[in-house]
Symmetry: C2
Subunit: 337 residues, 2 copies
């Protein structure tokens, strides 16, 4: 009896060992480790901005983090606290010194940052630019809003809001290139597509709420029948909204289109003072920056000089991250971002 | 003795079971199945082209397949055999009927294909367009060459080849929009950036080798001092090369810049008859199309109506897949594609 019991125990034991081992092997032959896009958690990808505390970057960072989580890599966020190229340059130097797996940077000043960006690329660190580019740098890609196209979208939205009739004005920031592009896209589209609309004024709001309010007040005093105002950035949009509110009952009630999705602007969209605001594809900027950097890092890890001649790059040259039109109808989903 | 032996066997058995089980659990808690981008091999992503047999698509398909392999999903390739919108529409209908996880399509005719593309999107299949778009369709994204920018690059390359001096000509295909954009980018850049260069002729080569040869012969007869010719597509480039070869010794030896990287063109670059050709980012078109479709498919799987208003899309609006300049110095790596 005892012997038989011993044999049973042995057979059962061997069977258990066999089953477990089989399960183990079955798992090992699953190709988890060879296919599936997955990086090394010790690889750190860094996002660098300026005015690093503002809300605008939050959704970009969320996209960057979402990508990193999916790919099992790490993320750090750095930036200059001010709108200051020298400060950002110092931050970038510090980031380069740590030899990260990749850097996504929004350049506060395209010219002043170019040399430091090139230094990163030359030392074998993949760099992509987002939101605000540095076209003459050696960075591999740019991901951001096509601002001329954003102006086109704003013009078409304005035409919908005004039945494609009447005088419209633009309040912009004259010395910033991206605002110039938004202005051009808006003006060119009104001129070419809407014969019953006219752009009657182009004012400098200097990216400032008070200046923009004053600019809008002046335009309203000159054109009491104004059908709409396009503000190319959000401080200006809030200033314009104040002017239009104060003007209520004194003339027309011009429709306002603003830019971006900070809380102040969204609140005004929700209450109807601003009819629409143009939301940039900020999550896309972060997510696809991470995807491109991951792709570049793998290539450079395989062959350190792979992209030295900027040829056959495995990432796009330029990514237009898109524009969404936010109105009262869909404003709620933008608060969550 | 026997009892002791039995105890040993039991202890060893329990120990082995414990170790194996521990290893098994350790593997299971590895986050392979929760992080890491990895799809389902049963999800099929379909690439649809026209003139499906031509070399041009090979590198696009390679990018599409590379992406699918990394993400553990399946790929099919379909297309009309001819340059025929009705045939491509039928192919697309058949693809839609199989309810694939996503479709990347290059539209032979943007207007005629729009309704069928919209049908796919409305039935919940993610669609992106590559190489040749359908801007008025509901497709989520376009990935392709910025042809105006390609013209700029060609102009700058021409300026390098000719020391930025002299008369240059363009041989193009007048009725195709992308060729018009290449022409405009080239002409605008020569005019604005190179005061000592002039575009003296713009000829229609009809995308045909013989017509392009004749066009180039005519230009050479009119401008014996011609410094260069830009052919906006590859058949034309080969025709122009024939004309210039036949003209040798009779006047100047104009530099030729062509487009694309088919074997005929690369051979002429290698032997020096064509000085440079503009390579499109075809691998990027395929790879990043797959990445975008994968991303869209996941979102729609989670929430079928997620992108019905085209808002907050998790993919870029437009991707410029880039342009590389191929010369004798780097021509060899383009044969491999």
């Amino acid at each position: 009896m005892k012997k038989l019991w011993l044999v049973y125990v042995l057979l059962i034991g061997i069977f258990i060992v066999y089953v477990l081992n089989y399960k183990l092997q079955a798992q090992s032959t699953e190709p988890w480790d060879t296919t599936g896009l997955r990086g090394n958690i010790e690889d750190t990808y860094v996002m660098v901005t300026f005015q690093s505390g503002i809300d605008y970057w939050k959704s970009v960072l969320k996209g960057f983090e979402d990508g990193a989580e999916e790919l099992n890599v790490s993320v750090e966020y750095h930036g200059s606290t001010q709108h200051d190229a020298n400060e950002q340059m110092t931050v970038l130097e510090q980031v380069i010194a740590k030899k990260p797996a990749g850097i996504a940077i929004s350049a506060v000043n395209s010219k002043l940052l170019t040399a430091t960006i090139n230094k990163a690329v030359e030392s074998g660190i993949p760099v992509v630019l987002f939101d605000s580019g540095a076209p003459d740098s050696k960075a591999y890609s740019f991901l951001g809003t096509d601002n001329y196209n954003a102006g086109i979208e704003a013009a078409r939205t304005m035409a919908e809001l005004t039945d494609a009739k009447g005088a419209v004005a633009i309040v912009t920031t004259l010395d910033q290139h991206n605002h110039q592009e938004r202005t051009d896209g808006f003006r060119d589209t009104i001129t070419s597509e809407y014969p019953q609309m006219t752009v009657v004024a182009l004012e400098d709001g200097r990216g400032d709420q008070v200046y923009s309010r004053q600019a809008a007040e002046w335009v309203l005093s000159q054109y009491p029948d104004l059908a709409g105002i396009f503000a190319t950035e959000s401080n200006g949009g809030i200033g314009v909204a104040e002017a239009v509110e104060a003007y209520k009952g004194k003339g027309s009630s011009p429709r306002i289109i603003s830019f971006d999705t900070d809380k102040g602007t969204l609140d005004l969209v929700k209450e109807g003072t601003i009819s629409a605001t143009m939301a940039q594809g900020t999550w896309n900027m972060g997510y696809w920056s991470l995807m491109e950097l991951f792709q570049l890092h793998r290539g450079l890890a395989d062959e350190p000089s792979a992209y030295s001649h900027n040829e056959l790059l495995p990432v796009p040259d330029k990514v237009d991250t898109g524009i969404d039109v936010v109105t009262r109808a869909n404003v709620d989903q933008y608060y969550a971002q």
